[in-house]
Symmetry: C2
C-alpha cells in the first residue's frame, strides 16, 4: 500500500523507473546513461550498476512509440517454399541489414484477404516499411497499398498509374526468350505449363507465350497449353494431363517448381529430356541447377529485383516525399542441359552459385 510509485511494469519486469530509483537518480538521467549520452562518471557508474543488478532491458515498443521508428522492415511473399522468393529475400536482407535494420518475412499464402490484413496490421507502425510481392492485385488491395501508413514497395506488375514504388520485370518477353531458344533448336510442338490465369504473372506469361508463337508463325495448339498453380505437385499433374492428349517436343514452364514437376512427369511417361522433349523453366532458381539434367531457365532477375526494391524502400523511408518510382529488370535466358541440342551424359560441373548463366 505505502508504495509511492509503481516502478515495475505490469508483469514485474524492471523499467527505467526501477533502475533510476535504485541508482538514486531521475529517470531522465537513467535514460541518458542507458543511451550513452551524457551523465557524470559517478552517475554513469550508479546507473550501469543498477541496470545490471535488476536485469533491465528496455521496452522496444515504448521506445518506438517515442521515436516513431522500429528498425524493422517486412517482406510479404506468397509462398516461402518457392526458391525464387528465397533468392529475393536474401538480396533484400543484405541491403536492409546494411542499413542497421532487421528483415522479417511473412508468407501470405497468396490469399488476398491475408495480404490485405497484413497491410492493415503490420503496416500500422509495427515496421518502418515493407516490400510486398503480390500475385493477385485487386482495387481494394491497391487502395490499401496506396494509403499505407508506412512506405511500401511492390515487386511485380502494377497498374501504370499506381502511385506506388514498383520494381518489375517483363515476364512476357521472358517467355519469349524461352520460345525463341526452343525454336532456334528446331522445336515446333512447344507446350506451355502455366500457373493460374487469374494471377498477374499467370496472365502475363500466357500472353507472352501466345505472342512468341505468333511471332514465329507457329499456330497455337490449345491442347499443348495446361494450367495448374505455381507449385511442384500441380506442375507435375498439369503436365500429366497435357501428355495424355498431346505430344510436345518442348515445354515451357511458368516457373522452376512447375518445371521440376514437368520433368518428373516426362520421365515417368518414358520421355527423355532433352532428347524427346526439351524443357525450359522460369526464375532461374537454385532448384534449376539442382536437377538432373540441369534445367534451362529464364532468369527474371529475382535477386536484382529484391536488391532494387530494398534500395527504393530505404530511400523512401529516408524521404517520404519522394515521387513514386518504377524500375524494371530485364529477363535473360540461362540455357542448360534440359534444352540442349546435344544431350550430355553426365551433369555439368556445379556452376558458381550466384552468377547468372550465359544468356542467349
Amino acid at each position: 500500500m505505502g508504495r509511492k510509485r509503481l516502478q515495475e511494469s505490469a508483469d514485474g519486469r524492471p523499467t527505467v523507473h526501477t533502475v533510476a530509483a535504485r541508482a538514486g537518480v531521475s529517470i531522465a538521467s537513467a535514460s541518458r546513461v542507458l543511451n550513452g549520452v551524457g551523465g557524470s562518471p559517478e552517475t554513469v557508474r550508479k546507473v550501469r550498476e543498477a541496470a545490471a543488478e535488476v536485469g533491465y532491458v528496455p521496452n522496444a515498443i515504448a521506445r518506438s512509440l517515442q521515436s516513431q521508428r522500429t528498425g524493422l522492415v517486412a517482406l510479404a511473399v506468397e509462398d516461402i517454399g518457392n526458391p525464387v522468393y528465397v533468392e529475393m529475400m536474401r538480396a533484400i536482407e543484405s541491403v536492409v541489414a546494411a542499413s542497421g535494420r532487421q528483415l522479417l518475412v511473412h508468407a501470405t499464402g497468396g490469399q488476398i484477404a491475408n495480404e490485405t490484413a497484413l497491410l492493415r496490421r503490420l503496416a500500422h507502425r509495427y515496421v518502418d516499411g515493407m516490400i510486398v510481392s503480390p500475385i493477385r492485385v485487386t482495387d481494394d488491395h491497391l487502395a490499401a497499398l496506396v494509403d499505407s501508413p508506412v512506405p511500401v514497395v511492390v515487386v511485380g506488375q502494377l497498374a501504370a498509374d499506381a502511385p506506388v514504388d514498383n520494381v518489375r520485370t517483363d515476364s512476357r518477353t521472358g517467355v519469349g526468350l524461352a520460345v525463341d531458344h526452343l525454336v532456334a533448336a528446331g522445336r515446333r510442338r512447344i507446350g506451355f505449363v502455366n500457373g493460374p490465369l487469374d494471377t498477374v504473372p499467370g496472365t502475363a506469361r500466357d500472353a507472352g507465350f501466345r505472342a512468341a508463337l505468333a511471332r514465329h508463325g507457329i499456330a497455337l495448339d490449345e491442347r499443348l497449353v495446361e494450367v495448374g498453380d505455381f507449385r511442384y505437385a500441380a506442375g507435375r499433374a498439369a503436365t500429366e494431363r497435357l501428355l495424355a492428349r498431346a505430344q510436345p517436343d518442348a515445354l515451357v514452364c511458368a516457373n522452376d517448381l512447375i518445371a521440376v514437376g514437368a520433368l518428373h512427369a516426362l520421365l515417368a511417361a518414358g520421355r527423355r529430356v532433352p532428347e524427346d522433349v526439351a524443357l525450359v523453366g522460369m526464375d532461374d532458381t537454385e532448384l534449376a541447377r539442382m536437377m538432373f539434367p540441369q534445367l534451362s531457365s529464364v532468369s527474371l532477375g529475382s535477386a536484382e529485383r529484391g536488391r532494387r526494391a530494398a534500395e527504393l524502400l530505404l530511400q523512401r523511408i529516408a524521404d517520404p516525399a519522394l515521387p513514386p518510382r518504377r524500375e524494371q529488370v530485364a529477363p535473360s535466358l540461362a540455357a542448360r542441359a534440359s534444352s540442349a541440342a546435344i544431350p550430355l551424359l553426365v551433369p555439368e560441373p556445379a556452376p558458381a552459385p550466384r552468377t547468372p548463366e550465359v544468356t542467349a
Copy 2:
C-alpha cells in the same frame, strides 16, 4: 499559432484526437466506438464518419504499449533456403494463425551474433513470443534465451537442465535408422556426408553414425566420412572429395540438401543410384520427393516439431508461470527409390504431399 491542441501525429497522420475533435466527442468515446465497445447510435455514427473522412488508422505501436501485446510471433531459423524450415514454418503458421496471431520469420544465417542480436531486439516486446531453432548454442546464447523478456521455445537439442521450453527429435537414432536400412539391404561400405561438427545436429549425427556402424559390427573407414556445411553445393563438393579417395556402396547424408548434392556428384562420377550406391537423406523434405530417383530420407518430423513448438509457445504466452517443458518427436524412415534393392525404371507416382511415408 492559435492551435489549442496538436491533433495530428508528427507526420501529419490523423490520431484518435483528430477523429474525436472532428466528431465533437471526447477521445474516450472515439476510442470506444473505434473498438466497437459502447457508444450511442448517434455517437457511433459521428465517430465512424469522422474516422472515414480523415482516413484514420490506429497506431499499432501505441496500442501495444497499452495492451502489452502485439499479436505477433516470430520464428528464427538459420536458413530459409532449407526446405526443412519451410515445412516447419508452415506447421507453425497454421497453429499461430488459428490463435489470431501473425507469424514473422527471420533468417539468422546461422551466426550466433546475429541470433543473439535478434533475441536482444525482437524479443524486447516487438513480438509476443518466439520460436528459435539454433544450430549452434553457446552459453551466452543460452543465457539470452533463458532471460528473454518474451516467451521462447527452442526447436532442437538443448542442455538437459536448461529451463526453456524445448521440442527436440533424436537425430542420433535417426541416423541409426538409415544405417540399419542400408545394412539390411546388404550394403557394407557405408559413407557419411555430414554438416559442420561444431553444430549441434552435426555432432549428434556423427555420433549416431559411428554408434550404428559399431552396433552392426562394421569397422569405420574414416575415408568414408566427409564434412561440409548443410547446403547443396557443400554436399556435392564433399561427396566429390569422398569419391576421390574411397568406394562407398551407400551414402548417408546429414540432410536432404546434402543428399541432392551427393546424388549429383555420384551421377557426375558415373555411379548409378541406387545400383552402385544407395543414398539416404535426412529431414524427409519435399525436395526428397522431387528428385529422380526419389530420395529415401529419415524423417525428423519437422512439421510435427513445428506444430508442437507453436502449441507450447501459445500455452506459455497464456500462462508464463508454467514450468519449462520438453517434448520429443521420434524419427522414422521413408524408404524410396534411391535406396531400393530393385531399382525402378521410372519415378514412383507422386505421393500425397504431406503424409509421412511408410516407415521401415
